[in-house]
C-alpha cells in the first residue's frame, strides 16, 4: 500500500514542478476540451462501435494515446505478444487502438517509439513494453502516457514547445479551467481551494445555525435537550420536497408552506406533549427520553411515507456564480441571505423586544416569570413554534444546499447541531450562530489537513479544545458561586 502511495505522490509532485506545470496544464485543457468535443450527442456511440467487443471467446486489449498536448496520437504502431500469438496494431484517428485476442494470459504490449508523432516521447520509457493480464470476455488496457520523461535519463528529450505540436486546446472549449476552482495549480492544497472550502464552511455553518438556533432556544427556555430536533429539520426538507415534487408548487411557495407547517408542528407538539409534561413536573432527563422516543417515531414515519432514499427538492442543478476565486451557487447565496435575515430577526427579537426578554426570563426562572405576569406556557409554546419553524427553514435550505433531503438528514446533523450550540454557550442564540460557523468551517476545512473520513472527529476535537479553554462556551458566562 505504502509503496503505491508514494508512487502517486511522486506523480503529483511531478505535476507541481514548475518546469512542467505549463505543459501539463495545456495538456489537461486540451484533453478536457477533447472530452467535451467527443462526448457530444452521438459521439460516444461512434467511439464505441470501433472498439473491439469482448465475448465469451474473445478478450480485448486496448488503449488510447494522447500527445502531451492532449491531442490524439494517430498512427502509432504497437505490437502485442502473448499466448495468442503476435499482432500489430496502429492507433486510429481518435488515438484509440484495440486488439481482440482469443486466449487468456499475459500479453506484452510494445510501443514503437519511432512512430510517435514528431516531438513526442514516452513520459516513462521504462514502462515500454508493458505487460497486461487478459481473461476471456474481458478488456485489458495499456496506457502509454506521452510527455517529458520523469526520470533523469531524458531531461530535454522532446519538450513540447518545438512548434510541431498542434497548438493546445484547438478544440476551442475552454475546458474546465474557468469553472473548476483550483484548476489553476497542480492539485493538492492551494489558496483557491482553501477559499472555496471556507466559503462552503461559511454557508454550511450559517445553515447549521439556522437549524440549531431552535435547539438552543428550546434548551434555554425549558432546559430540555431535544433529541428530536433533527427530525424537525428533516421535516422542513421533506415538506419542501412534498410540495415541489409531489404537489408541483414553485419552490418559494412550497418552502414557505413547509416552514409554516414545521412551525405548526412545533406548536402542536408543545400543546400535545411538552406542555402537559411540564404541567406534571416530569423531570428533564425523563423528557429527554420522550424526545428520543419522538425522534424514533418521526424518523420511521418519514421512512414509512417517503421511503429511505434521498429526496431531491428541486431537479435542476444549482447555477453558480464566481466571486473572485470562489465558485458559489446562486442558491447558496440566496440561502445565506435568508438565513442571515432569519437569524438577525431572532436576535433582535430576543434582545430588543419585550416578548424576547420574557423568553429569557422564562429560561431563568419560570416560576418567577409567572409571578411577573408573564404567561409562561404561552412563551414556551411560542418558542417551540419559532424553534420548529426555524428548524424547518433550516431543513429546506439545508436540503437545497446538500442537493437532497432524506428521512435522516436531521439526525445525521444532530450531533453537529449540539456541538454548535454547546460551543457557543448553551441557551444563547448568538452562541449558536458563532458555534455553528466555527463548526461549519472546521468541518469543511479539516480535510485539508486530516483524512477526510475523520473530519467529524476533527470538528469534535476542536469542540473539546475550545471548551477546555472556555468552559462556559464561546459566548457563555461564568456563574457566581455562593
Amino acid at each position: 500500500m505504502t509503496g503505491r502511495r508514494s508512487q502517486v505522490r511522486r506523480a503529483t509532485s511531478m505535476d507541481r514542478s514548475p518546469l512542467t506545470r505549463a505543459t501539463v496544464l495545456a495538456a489537461l485543457a486540451a484533453m478536457l476540451g477533447l472530452v467535451l468535443a467527443t462526448v457530444g450527442p452521438g459521439g460516444t456511440a461512434a467511439a464505441q462501435t470501433v472498439a473491439c467487443a469482448p465475448d465469451s471467446g474473445t478478450a480485448c486489449i486496448t488503449g488510447t494515446l494522447r500527445t502531451s498536448a492532449g491531442q490524439p496520437a494517430v498512427g502509432v504502431a504497437l505490437e502485442v505478444a502473448g499466448p495468442g500469438g503476435e499482432q500489430q496494431v496502429t492507433s486510429g484517428p481518435d488515438g484509440r487502438w484495440s486488439l481482440p485476442v482469443t486466449e487468456a494470459g499475459q500479453y506484452t504490449v510494445t510501443l514503437d517509439e519511432a512512430t510517435l508523432p514528431a516531438g513526442e516521447t514516452l513520459r516513462d520509457p521504462a514502462n515500454n513494453p508493458r505487460t497486461v493480464t487478459v481473461s476471456l470476455g474481458g478488456v485489458a488496457a495499456a496506457l502509454f502516457p506521452l510527455g517529458t520523461p520523469t526520470g533523469p535519463a531524458a531531461p530535454s528529450g522532446g519538450a513540447t514547445g518545438d512548434g510541431d505540436a498542434p497548438p493546445p486546446a484547438t478544440g476551442g472549449e475552454p475546458g474546465l479551467d474557468n469553472t473548476v476552482p483550483g484548476t489553476a495549480s497542480g492539485g493538492g492544497v492551494n489558496w483557491d481551494r482553501v477559499a472555496q472550502q471556507a466559503s462552503a464552511g461559511l454557508v454550511f455553518g450559517t445553515l447549521l445555525a439556522l437549524a440549531s438556533v431552535g435547539l438552543s432556544l428550546i434548551f434555554g427556555t425549558t432546559g430540555l435537550s431535544n433529541f428530536a430536533h433533527g427530525e424537525q429539520v428533516s421535516l422542513g426538507g421533506i415538506l419542501a420536497y412534498v410540495f415541489t415534487q409531489l404537489v408541483g408548487l414553485p419552490l418559494l411557495v412550497s418552502g414557505a408552506i413547509a416552514v409554516a407547517l414545521a412551525a405548526a408542528s412545533g406548536y402542536l407538539q408543545d400543546a400535545a406533549i411538552w406542555g402537559p409534561l411540564r404541567k406534571r413536573r416530569v423531570g428533564m432527563t425523563q423528557q429527554l427520553i420522550v424526545t428520543i422516543g419522538l425522534a424514533v417515531t418521526l424518523q420511521y414515519v418519514f421512512q414509512f411515507f417517503f421511503g429511505a432514499g434521498s429526496l431531491r427538492i428541486v431537479r435542476s442543478n444549482p447555477e453558480t456564480v464566481a466571486l473572485g476565486p470562489i465558485l458559489i451557487t446562486q442558491q447558496s447565496l440566496i440561502s445565506l441571505g435568508i438565513a442571515a435575515a432569519a437569524l438577525g430577526g431572532v436576535s433582535y427579537f430576543l434582545v430588543a423586544t419585550r416578548v424576547g426578554r420574557a423568553t429569557r426570563a422564562v429560561s431563568d426562572n419560570p416560576a418567577l416569570a409567572a409571578a411577573s405576569g408573564i404567561g409562561v406556557d404561552g412563551i414556551v409554546r411560542m418558542v417551540w413554534t419559532i424553534g420548529a419553524g426555524l428548524a424547518g427553514l433550516g431543513g429546506v435550505l439545508m436540503g437545497l444546499y446538500l442537493n437532497a433531503t432524506a428521512w435522516n438528514m436531521g439526525s445525521t446533523l444532530l450531533l453537529l447541531m449540539f456541538a454548535a450550540v454547546t460551543l457557543g454557550g448553551l441557551g444563547t442564540a448568538f452562541g449558536a450562530l458563532a458555534g455553528s460557523i466555527v463548526i461549519g468551517l472546521v468541518v469543511e476545512l479539516s480535510n485539508l489537513v486530516i483524512p477526510s473520513d475523520m473530519r467529524y472527529a476533527g470538528a469534535l476535537v476542536i469542540l473539546i479544545l475550545v471548551l477546555l479553554f472556555r468552559p462556559q462556551g464561546i459566548l457563555g458566562r461564568a456563574e457566581r458561586v455562593g
Binding site: 419585550r354 426578554r357 416560576a367 418567577l368 409567572a370 411577573s372 405576569g373 457566581r480
Partner: protein, 267 residues
C-alpha cells in the same frame, strides 16, 4: 413626599367586605401530604397584614397558594368576591396581585434593568416612568442597571426583587421576607416604605422573620403554625402577647436593648 393621614382600617371592622379572602385552605406539594391544613385569611382593602411563625410553618406555602403557584386541594381563595382558587399566576398579576418570593426571586441572567422590565411586563408603556421612580428609591440599581442580577450580592438581589414587584403597581402585594439579607438601614427603609405604599391604598400581606419589625408596622398579624392559624390579632397585641413572645418572637431583641442603652435615640 406626602404624608398619608387617611383613616386606617383596623381589625375591628368586619362590616366591610374583604378584598382577599382565603378560607379553609388545604394545600401541599407531595401527594398525600398537606402543608396547609385549613388556613383562613382575610385582607380588607388598604390593610397591611403580617404573617409570622416558626420555620416550616407554611407561610411561604400560604402565599404561593394564594398566588396559584401551589395547587389548592380544598378551600377557596377569593379576590374582590371573585373565586380565584388555582388561577394561573399571570392572570392574577393581571388583576393587580404582585408577589415577591422568598428564594430565587430574580432572573439571574437578565440585567437589573431587564429584571425590572419583567416587573412591568403587562404594562410596558409605563416602564420608563416607573423605572425613574424605582431608581429614585434604589439608586444603586440605577447605577448598575447593566449588571446581571446573577452576580449581585444577597442584599442587592433582594432590592431587585422588591423593585421588580413595585414596578407592577399592584393593588395587592404579597411579600415573602422582603427584609432578609438587607443591611439594617435598608431593612428599616424597607419596612417604612412598605408602610408608605400601604398608605397609598395598596393591600399588603407580608411574611417576615424579622417579626418585631413586621408586627410594629402591620395592622393585623397572623401567627401560623403547622399550617393553621395559631393567633390572629393586631400587630401590637401579638407583639406583647407573652405566649407569642415565648414561642415565636424570642426575647433576644428586648434583652439586648435593655442591656445596651448606648445607642442614639430617635431624633
Amino acid at each position: 413626599m406626602t404624608t398619608a393621614t387617611q383613616n386606617t382600617p383596623t381589625a375591628g371592622q368586619p362590616t366591610r367586605d374583604p378584598l382577599l379572602r382565603a378560607s379553609g385552605l388545604v394545600a401541599g406539594y407531595l401527594p398525600g401530604v398537606n402543608i396547609l391544613n385549613g388556613c383562613d385569611l382575610d385582607v380588607y382593602p388598604g390593610e397591611l397584614i403580617g404573617i409570622i411563625g416558626p420555620n416550616g410553618a407554611g407561610k411561604s406555602t400560604l402565599l404561593k397558594a394564594l398566588f396559584g403557584l401551589v395547587s389548592v386541594r380544598s378551600g377557596t381563595v377569593t379576590l374582590k368576591g371573585e373565586d380565584i382558587t388555582n388561577h394561573r399566576a399571570d392572570s392574577l398579576v393581571h388583576r393587580g396581585v404582585g408577589f415577591v418570593p422568598q428564594n430565587d426571586n430574580v432572573f439571574p441572567s437578565l440585567t437589573i434593568e431587564e429584571n425590572l422590565q419583567m416587573g412591568s411586563y403587562q404594562a410596558p408603556k409605563r416602564f420608563a416612568e416607573r423605572f425613574e421612580a424605582i431608581v429614585d428609591l434604589f439608586p444603586t440599581l440605577g447605577d448598575r442597571r447593566k449588571q446581571r442580577a446573577g452576580s449581585l450580592s444577597g442584599g442587592e438581589r433582594q432590592m431587585v426583587a422588591m423593585a421588580r414587584a413595585l414596578m407592577m403597581e399592584p393593588s395587592v402585594l404579597l411579600l415573602d421576607e422582603p427584609s432578609a439579607g438587607l443591611s439594617p438601614v435598608r431593612q428599616d427603609e424597607t419596612f417604612i416604605r412598605t408602610r408608605k405604599i400601604n398608605r397609598t391604598g395598596v393591600s399588603i400581606i407580608m411574611v417576615e422573620q424579622n417579626a418585631r419589625r413586621c408586627l410594629q408596622i402591620c395592622d393585623r398579624g397572623y401567627v401560623l403554625d403547622q399550617g393553621r392559624n395559631a393567633y390572629t390579632a393586631t400587630g401590637r397585641e401579638l407583639m406583647h402577647d407573652p405566649k407569642v413572645i415565648e414561642l415565636y418572637l424570642g426575647t433576644l431583641a428586648a434583652d439586648v436593648e435593655s442591656a445596651g442603652k448606648d445607642v442614639p435615640p430617635l431624633a
